[in-house]
């Protein structure tokens, strides 16, 4: 695996830029520019920009991936005219939305109407700064990165409800209420499923969790937790079969009915960012992140950026499963959703915690082998 981290790249770029700029400038500016604090600040900014750009491009690719895959599921071809196989279609769509006039209903509350989508977008993208993507490709060591990621992830219902309420539209309000109820109901099982992972790995740090999984992916022994987590994530991501906050059949577009142009693009992008984050979390927590088991030939894991390659591959496969679900399941009803959430998912997630605790006690299972690095 590569030893160069993303931050090293950003740091190098910043140093190069500032020292280069500083060398041609007279003394007072020169001394100020090569100040290590400034270099660090620029490096952090560049790091953020690279991360943001990469995540945005990935998100847009994710939309393309979903469109193509849905197209195949539905016996059609998906986007295919802009760029090779429609690769640039979503950029064109984004550009179109960007150029559109953003309309605000006269009776809508201005502050909430604009702040809601913006905050939703910002909090969704923020998680990318926390998630490790490969060894060294994260913002640094955060001992509680898992908790922080989930905490930011669960901000969303607040902002959705703010934008829904301030839209001053009945459909938006209904959608916002559904969304809030649904996200709160599924927050709990998700966290409990994560507790199972934490119990087994003994760490809140995503990097540690992934490194532990090199030869012991958690999806097998913690299958129940994975199931609960995936279903909960589907609900959190508001994808079919849990997309009832924006059930277009009855609520037009749910909480984003009144939004158009760039504000709608914010919602749409943020939804896919969340979908990406959801898939990434599944990969990180249960599928071994960027690692491959050690019996895999080293040629497969030693080429440049191998970690990122395997990580993205796993992420897209997980997302493909989400698309598959979308193509083949109808939408559930609000009361059924909440009933399943409170009365099935929570007991199941509690059960998964108990199973994880037993796994920690037993340590070794017949098929899956022993839990590595416990108690360390």
């Amino acid at each position: 695996m590569s030893n160069v981290t993303l931050f090293d790249v950003a740091n190098g770029l910043a140093t190069l830029l500032l020292t280069g700029l500083g060398s041609i400038l007279p003394q007072p500016l020169h001394g100020w520019l090569i100040n290590p604090n400034l270099i660090f600040a620029l490096a952090a900014t560049l790091f953020g920009a690279i991360l943001l750009g990469a995540s945005m491009i990935n998100t847009i690719m994710l939309i393309w991936f979903e469109r193509k895959m849905l197209g195949r599921f539905m016996d059609r071809r998906g986007a295919m005219h802009v760029g090779y196989a429609g690769l640039l279609q979503n950029f064109a769509d984004g550009l179109k939305l960007f150029r559109k006039h953003t309309l605000r209903p006269r009776e809508a509350d201005s502050l909430g109407f604009y702040a809601g989508p913006t905050a939703y977008m910002v909090t969704s993208v923020l998680i990318f700064g926390i998630l490790p993507i490969s060894t060294g490709w994260s913002s640094g060591v955060l001992p509680l990165s898992l908790l922080l990621a989930l905490a930011i992830f669960s901000f969303a219902p607040l902002f959705i409800f703010i934008s829904a309420w301030s839209s001053n539209n009945k459909y938006s309000l209904l959608g916002g209420m559904r969304s809030a109820a649904q996200m709160i109901a599924y927050e709990v099982p998700i966290l409990l499923a994560v507790v199972a992972v934490i119990l087994v790995s003994g760490s809140f740090d995503l990097t540690t969790i992934v490194n532990l999984q090199q030869n012991y992916w958690f999806w097998g022994p913690l299958f129940l937790a994975l199931l609960v987590f995936v279903v909960g994530m589907l609900a959190e991501m508001e994808r079919i079969p849990f997309d009832l906050p924006e059930a277009e059949a009855e609520l037009v577009e749910g909480w984003n009915t009144e939004y158009g142009g760039m504000l709608f693009a914010f919602f749409m992008l943020a939804d896919y960012v969340r979908a990406l984050v959801g898939s990434i979390l599944v990969v990180l927590l249960f599928l071994g992140g960027w690692t491959l088991p050690s019996y895999v030939p080293s040629a497969l894991t030693s080429f440049p950026l191998a970690g990122i390659f395997w990580f993205m591959l796993k992420t897209y496969i997980v997302f493909g499963v989400f698309v598959w679900i979308r193509a083949s399941l109808p939408r559930v009803r609000t009361d059924q959703l909440l009933k399943v959430g409170w009365m099935r998912m929570i007991p199941l997630s509690l059960l998964s915690v108990v199973l994880a605790a037993m796994l920690v006690l037993v340590r070794c299972l017949p098929v899956f082998g022993c839990v590595p690095g416990l108690g360390g």
């Binding site: 849905l70 599921f73 539905m74 016996d75 059609r76 009945k170 459909y171 209904l174 079919i240 079969p241 997309d243 009832l244 059930a247 277009e248 059949a249 009855e250 609520l251 037009v252 979308r326 193509a327 083949s328 399941l329 109808p330 939408r331 559930v332 009803r333 609000t334 009361d335 059924q336």
Partner: protein
């Protein structure tokens, strides 16, 4: 809180407005508001020739144009005392059943789309296209056919049509299995549709509800069986029926009807293969403007010689019982036409099968009614 679901709303499948009073997610009251698509077909018919009204009938319901042509033609032929040749009758039956297939497939596509299931929508559109291709091959139209004529049909089917049609029917029979697997095989589908939008047989009869909705309530009433028109007494088929009176039952009835339609179409194709003949009656009055009618002296009847009369016809259209009432006072135009649209009546009963369910249930219930606004407003 009153919510206007319409006139532009994804649930409506057309241009109408369902006013819903909701309490949280619960439906307390509903008030369907129609008329947004009112084109005044009955008024326009007052100064149209008999054959020109067929054009209007295609626009009456945009998914069942040819069935509506049959409705009107039946009444007009009664009113004008004209009988269509046998082959034309068989062709009409074939068209009706093909149209029923197209309409039900369209219904299936829209209905599951309302439930949030995306793929079957495109499967449905794909399969419906095959039927539209068939229609196009002998009527020239894909949506508005103008195929029936007073006294027969406009033209015969082209050679090779029957084989082509048989292939499509075989394909469709396979697809129906797929459709069922996607819907009935899905636990979520069953949970959403079972026990939803119940309208019992007694209420159905009181409220005048007909078609698949009535048959889903356990009343095996089908005009094709009970009061055979055209040549329905010479084809074999079963009346689809279910007992639960809910959305799933309506789904089952429509799926079974599609299978029976395929059965009927196959029989008509066999008959058409072996019985060539004229498809338009001789001796039609020239003022009917029927193309291909013999224009010689013997075919020309003065209109004062033409008897007056009032005609009534009822046809089992894909959505239910459609009726036409045509008053002929001896002129070139009908004095009055009146059409009974099954969806109009099924929709008027909305209060009885919607109150007490949830907002999320509105699309499946309305989908199971199979609204076609064109024929509600006429």
């Amino acid at each position: 809180m009153w919510v206007n679901m319409g006139p532009q709303h994804p649930m409506t499948h057309g241009l109408w407005n369902l006013r819903v009073k909701i309490d949280g997610e619960l439906i307390v009251d509903v008030d369907p508001e129609v008329g947004y698509l009112h084109r005044g077909i009955e008024k326009i018919s007052e100064d149209r020739h008999y054959n020109e009204i067929i054009t209007l009938m295609d626009r009456c319901c945009y998914v069942a144009g040819i069935a509506w042509e049959h409705v009107y033609i039946g009444a007009a032929e009664n009113a004008l005392h004209i009988t269509a040749p046998e082959r034309a009758q068989w062709l009409r039956v074939m068209c009706d059943e093909l149209q029923r297939l197209a309409s039900h497939i369209m219904w299936y596509a829209a209905f599951v789309q309302d439930l949030g299931l995306m793929s079957p929508f495109l499967y449905g559109m794909r399969d419906r296209d095959l039927i539209l291709d068939l229609f196009q091959s002998f009527t020239g139209g894909r949506l508005t056919y103008e195929y029936n004529r007073v006294g027969g049909v406009r033209n015969d089917v082209p050679s090779g049509f029957t084989d082509r049609c048989r292939k499509v029917m075989d394909w469709l029979m396979d697809r129906f299995v797929e459709y069922d697997r996607l819907c009935l095989g899905s636990e979520i589908f069953r949970r959403r549709c079972d026990g939803l939008g119940v309208l019992k047989a007694k209420e159905c009869v009181d409220l005048g509800v007909t078609g698949p909705m009535l048959r889903s309530a356990g009343v095996a009433r089908d005009l094709r069986k009970d009061r055979p028109y055209a040549v329905y007494d010479r084809v074999e088929f079963d009346v689809a029926k279910a007992d639960a009176a809910d959305v799933t039952a309506r789904y089952l009835v429509r799926m079974e009807e599609m299978r029976q339609s395929v059965r009927i179409v196959r029989q008509t194709l066999d008959w058409l293969d072996h019985h060539p003949g004229p498809v338009l009656a001789d001796h039609l009055p020239r003022w009917l403007g029927a193309p291909y009618a013999p224009m010689g002296n013997e075919g020309y009847l003065l209109k004062r010689n033409f008897p007056r009369g009032t005609g009534f016809a009822a046809v089992e259209e894909p959505h239910g019982e459609a009726q036409a009432y045509v008053v002929n006072t001896g002129g070139e135009h009908p004095y009055r036409t009146k059409f009974r649209s099954p969806v109009f009546v099924n929709l008027s009963a909305a209060k009885h099968y919607m109150i007490g369910y949830r907002v999320a249930d509105i699309p499946p219930i309305m989908g199971s009614v199979d609204i076609c606004v064109g024929e509600v407003d006429r």
